[in-house]
């Protein structure tokens, strides 16, 4: 029996996420907690499964332990398969020597042998740090219909922000005629989402050539895609119009969490037709006591709440004691806020403790976000100033 996959995905999850500071000191960015119940990587993984893609290579490099453990055999996403499924791909030592992944393209290049085992017709390249729900099968269909060599998912962004993105200039059919990487004066508002589908043969060819090029940074956006365009390959854009957020910074991660709140949230994760799967905690339902006040928040099982929670996202096993106040904050799993402590505009990572009467952050006009790393303890009665970023111990 000769196997063949129509499309498989390669998920770039090696990013250090240095702009998430204390949140990524010990874990890779895709493993950062999101929305109470998820980790960032749940979104691309769930999108794959919901789109009918059952073979995913996850490229890890930076602090991969927790990410590897979290993905495990892929069972929560139905990615434990006999042929295919999810595979963790770490840098390895080969006969010619060992290398860390240099750029995004080099990371895929080093794992071409893995892709070729599945003999796919098309390869989907994803990144592990975006929050969105997207049906890749529709993009694949367009890619096949237009007979493109490469299709790039793109999103309309406000013109004022366009200079932060890789911009695609396209003709009326959606065919790309020019790339501009973070242009000062953008000609269009169509930004690349870092999601590509390649014809497998083209991917092999250009990655192998790119590897031999002097001076290439081995990056998709900077090197491989512009070169393909300049050599006349058919490059199509695929416009996506739903919610999409790059959560590479503290403020964007914060905003994306807040987008889950409200009576009609900007981003809905409870859609029956597009379930976001994750490794679920083992915990009883959350308990809200008669002293508590919980409004406009998202709460997960295992929490015990006796204080006030407003406009906040609580992950599992969070404990809020009587008299404590949590506002506009994101608390990761196992965080404990003791009596009469106040937490405002903060992101508090796993198992941090805010002791009795302590204060973390404040609501300021410039919306400063305070960050506590995992396992950190704010001592009784002490104060962490607004905007401070404190390294954790976990």
């Amino acid at each position: 029996m000769i196997y063949k996959k129509k499309c498989m995905a390669m998920l770039l999850a090696g990013g250090q996420g240095s702009r998430l500071y204390a949140l990524t000191s010990k874990i890779a960015k895709p493993a950062v907690s999101f929305g109470g119940k998820y980790r960032i990587i749940d979104f691309p993984l769930s999108n794959c499964v919901n789109s009918g893609i059952d073979t995913v290579g996850v490229l890890t490099q930076y602090q991969p332990l927790l990410l590897n453990e979290y993905i495990g055999n892929g069972q929560p996403w139905d990615l434990d398969r006999n042929f295919g499924g999810v595979h963790i791909l770490s840098p390895y030592q080969a006969k010619e020597g060992s290398e860390w992944f240099k750029g995004t393209a080099n990371a895929i290049y080093q794992n071409l042998y893995f892709i070729k085992r599945y003999n796919p017709e098309h390869v989907l390249i994803l990144s592990g740090d975006h929050i969105y729900k997207m049906d890749y099968s529709k993009m694949l269909q367009r890619h096949i219909e237009t007979n493109a060599d490469c299709t790039i998912a793109a999103l309309k962004v406000p013109m004022s922000e366009a200079s932060r993105f890789g911009i695609l200039n396209v003709n009326e059919n959606g065919e790309i005629y020019e790339f501009e990487e973070k242009p000062k004066k953008p000609k269009s508002d169509l930004a690349s989402m870092g999601i590509y589908i390649f014809k497998a043969e083209k991917l092999y060819k250009y990655l192998e050539e790119d590897e031999k090029l002097e001076g290439s940074r081995n990056d998709f956006g900077g090197d491989v895609l512009p070169r393909m365009l300049s050599l006349g390959e058919k490059m199509m854009s695929y416009e996506f119009s739903g919610y999409w957020k790059d959560v590479g910074t503290i403020s964007s991660l914060y905003d994306a969490n807040m987008d889950l709140l409200g009576d009609t949230p900007n981003f809905q994760v409870d859609e029956k037709s597009w379930i976001i799967r994750s490794r679920n905690p083992i915990a009883p339902p959350h308990y809200v006591s008669d002293k508590a006040r919980v409004v406009n928040s998202a709460i997960v099982s295992g929490c015990e709440i006796a204080g006030t929670v407003e406009n906040s996202v609580l992950s599992h096993h969070v404990e809020i004691e009587e008299g404590a106040i949590v506002k506009n904050s994101i608390l990761f799993a196992g965080v404990k806020i003791c009596k009469n402590a106040v937490v405002e505009n903060a992101i508090i990572a796993e198992y941090a403790v805010v002791e009795e009467g302590a204060t973390v952050g404040a609501i300021t006009d410039d919306k400063k976000i305070t960050v506590l790393g995992g396992g950190y303890t704010v001592k009784k009665g002490s104060k962490i100033e607004a905007g401070e970023i404190v390294e954790g111990t976990l």
């Binding site: 409870d270 679920n280 083992i282 009883p284 919980v294 409004v295 406009n296 015990e304």
Partner: protein, 370 residues
């Protein structure tokens, strides 16, 4: 632990006829996200039992759906794991009606197993029990059978006539097992949890049938009180056996008390089927007091002293008090509910007012639109 588990999923169905109309005792939803069988299965797994036979009789679709391959209890295994044992009978047989007949249906499963001991348990109870410790005690006493009992007040036990009561000597040896004795005050109530050697169980089953017996309690235990070394182990922690809709309601609401919750959930992990529900979202107008709320809910109204299962929606202006709303219950706006037990997927339309009292909650069956 060199033992296999045998779980009886249907035995007490008649106790809670409302909730078992379309399901087994084992698949009665409990406490927001569990089914009763989760407690028995978790106790077995947490005690180190790696092979479980699940004895079913009727209405067991919901149970099969819940346990699936056993993955969520770490019971999807090549060696051991979860075995569902549907009724086993010949063409002219009717379904079993007693525990002993059910056991006879499991005789091939017992014969094919190589575990030394068997732990038998029912699905009507909620407790944390460590069978490994009981087995150690069983071996130390050189017992043939160890029965687990709890001390209860006779007045609190519904239908005490059908229950087995054990009397023990100082060393724990059972001196008498009786049905419906004339007792008042504290009794040693048998929990239907017992441990014995697999080969002994096989022999007892075969002997009982060769004598035309069919009742495990009366014919196997009572008749052998003197000829076998039967010991009793007292379970001292929280234990409740649900025996009516009222007790289901009352015992569920007890979990609003932290000390009761900690008795079960702080000691061990209780596993259940994973649903991938989203976090529960509280709206700007939500007011929640003294309640347990599972994942996947949307709460825009008021909830007090209640247990809310996964995926429940509480509309604006709606007030829910002293109630249990099972998975997928949808309430419209300005609804008022008091002392209601709503089974799965009940829809309660705008402005409906339903009120019962705490001693006699009102039950709304599955999929009903009010």
């Amino acid at each position: 632990m060199n033992a296999l588990g045998l779980v009886f999923s249907n035995i007490h169905d008649n106790n809670v006829p409302e909730l078992t109309q379309e399901r087994t005792m084992g698949s009665i939803p409990f406490l927001g996200r569990y089914r009763l069988i989760d407690f028995a299965l978790s106790n077995l797994v947490n005690s180190g039992v790696a092979k479980v036979g699940l004895i079913t009789k009727s209405n067991y679709q919901s149970l099969m759906d819940h346990v699936g391959s056993g993955k969520d209890w770490d019971l999807a295994r090549r060696r051991g794991g979860l075995h569902i044992l549907p009724p086993f009978g010949l063409k002219d047989n009717v379904l079993y009606s007693t525990r002993l007949e059910a056991l006879r249906g499991a005789k091939n499963f017992l014969a094919r197993s190589d575990e030394e001991y068997v732990v038998m348990t029912d699905c009507d109870n909620v407790c944390v029990m460590n069978f490994d410790k009981i087995l150690t005690e069983h071996k130390a006493k050189n017992a043939d059978i160890t029965l687990v009992y709890v001390k209860k007040d006779a007045n609190d036990v519904k239908d005490v006539l059908s229950k087995m009561i054990v009397s023990t000597a100082d060393n724990g040896r059972v001196t008498d097992i009786s049905f419906a004795p004339r007792v008042q005050g504290e009794i040693n109530l048998y929990t239907n949890v017992c441990i014995l050697k697999r080969t002994l169980l096989q022999t007892l089953i075969a002997d009982a049938f060769s004598h035309g017996y069919n009742h495990f309690g009366k014919d196997v235990l009572v008749r052998n009180v003197n000829s076998l070394r039967i010991f009793a182990h007292e379970h001292k922690g929280y234990f409740v056996a649900l025996n009516s809709l009222q007790s289901y309601y009352k015992e569920s609401l007890k979990f609003l008390d932290k000390s009761v919750r900690d008795e079960i959930f702080k000691k061990v992990d209780v596993y259940t089927k994973v649903k991938d529900s989203a976090p529960t979202r509280y709206g700007a107008s939500a007011v929640v007091k003294n309640s347990l709320i599972a994942d996947g809910c949307v709460i825009e109204g008021t909830v007090e002293n209640s247990i809310i299962f996964r995926g429940v929606k509480i509309g604006r202006g709606t007030v829910v008090k002293n109630s249990i709303l099972m998975q997928g219950t949808i309430t419209g706006e300005n609804v008022s509910l008091n002392s209601i037990v709503a089974d799965k997927n009940v829809v309660i339309k705008d402005r409906r007012v339903l009120s019962a009292c705490e001693s006699l909650p009102f039950y709304i069956s599955k999929n009903i639109i009010v």
